[in-house]
């Protein structure tokens, strides 16, 4: 308004910069690999920049960018001929590539569990549980009904609980040699 064209542009850039850390975190949680996630963020920046005329200053830049990123991801996956449901090939390399990326083993287990979710459930729980969006905003970003988002988040939670319990039991695997000794020591 009073600032004129130039200051409006730089504030577009400024707002975009402010949203970038969260946008990267969103991409990374969806994809599980830093290199691919950052490529997707870059594509999103280009797309968003090209259509900045469609963005109304003062509205939620973060939600707008998240919507673009999400649409871009799914359209790229379609182009590559990958089923959206098929999370396997897309995510498997992630832990091998960045084994030390996350502080604790605990978080790596969680990351693995997150990658086992169907993409629609994964994005729902990330948007609501980590990105700080309301259910309403998440529904808008995903282009679906409010009830759909709620049920996806619920299913994601249930599924994560199931997976993490299974993972927890498997933790005894590598310790197979010491565990029997320990228990014997306690029993006898």
């Amino acid at each position: 308004m009073s600032g004129g064209m130039t200051s409006e542009e730089s504030s577009f850039k400024r707002e975009m910069l402010a949203a970038l850390p969260s946008l990267r975190a969103f991409a990374m949680s969806l994809i599980g690999r830093h290199d691919r996630a950052d490529d997707l963020v870059q594509d999103t920046i280009m797309k968003a920049w090209a259509k900045q005329d469609h963005f109304e200053m003062g509205t939620n830049m973060k939600a707008w960018l998240f919507t673009i990123l999400r649409n871009e991801l799914y359209s790229q996956m379609r182009k590559r001929g990958r089923e959206v449901q098929d999370s396997d090939g897309y995510f498997t390399e992630s832990l091998a590539q960045h084994p030390a990326q996350y502080g604790s083993l605990d978080l790596q287990d969680f990351k693995r569990a997150l990658e086992m979710l169907p993409p629609d459930q994964r994005e729902a729980i990330i948007l609501v549980g980590a990105s700080g969006f309301s259910y309403e905003e998440a529904a808008e970003i995903c282009g679906c009904a409010l009830g759909t988002i709620k049920s996806r988040v619920n299913r994601a939670r249930q599924r994560l609980q199931e997976i993490l319990q299974i993972t927890g039991e498997n933790e005894y695997g590598p310790d197979a040699t010491s565990a029997p000794m320990t228990s014997r020591a306690f029993v006898s």
Binding site: M5, T6, E9, S10, K13, M16, L17, L20, P21, S22, R24, A25, F26, M28, S29, D38, V41, Q42, I45, M46, W49, Q101, Y102, G103, D106, L107, F110, K111, L114, I125, I126, G129, A130, S131, R157, L160, Q161, L164
Partner: protein, 52 residues
Amino acid sequence: MSVRTDNPNAQIATKLRALYLSVQEEAIPDRFLDLLEKLDAVERQSMPDVAE
């Protein structure tokens, strides 16, 4: 031995946020700062006649 007594949803929420924050707290990579600079510069160059 375990903390399983905690609300499992709360545990999941905590881990999800920790994972997310681990990326969000990273510095913005230079490639994005450079990219935005370039996009902005290109725009400024092609913008002198905005009247239309």
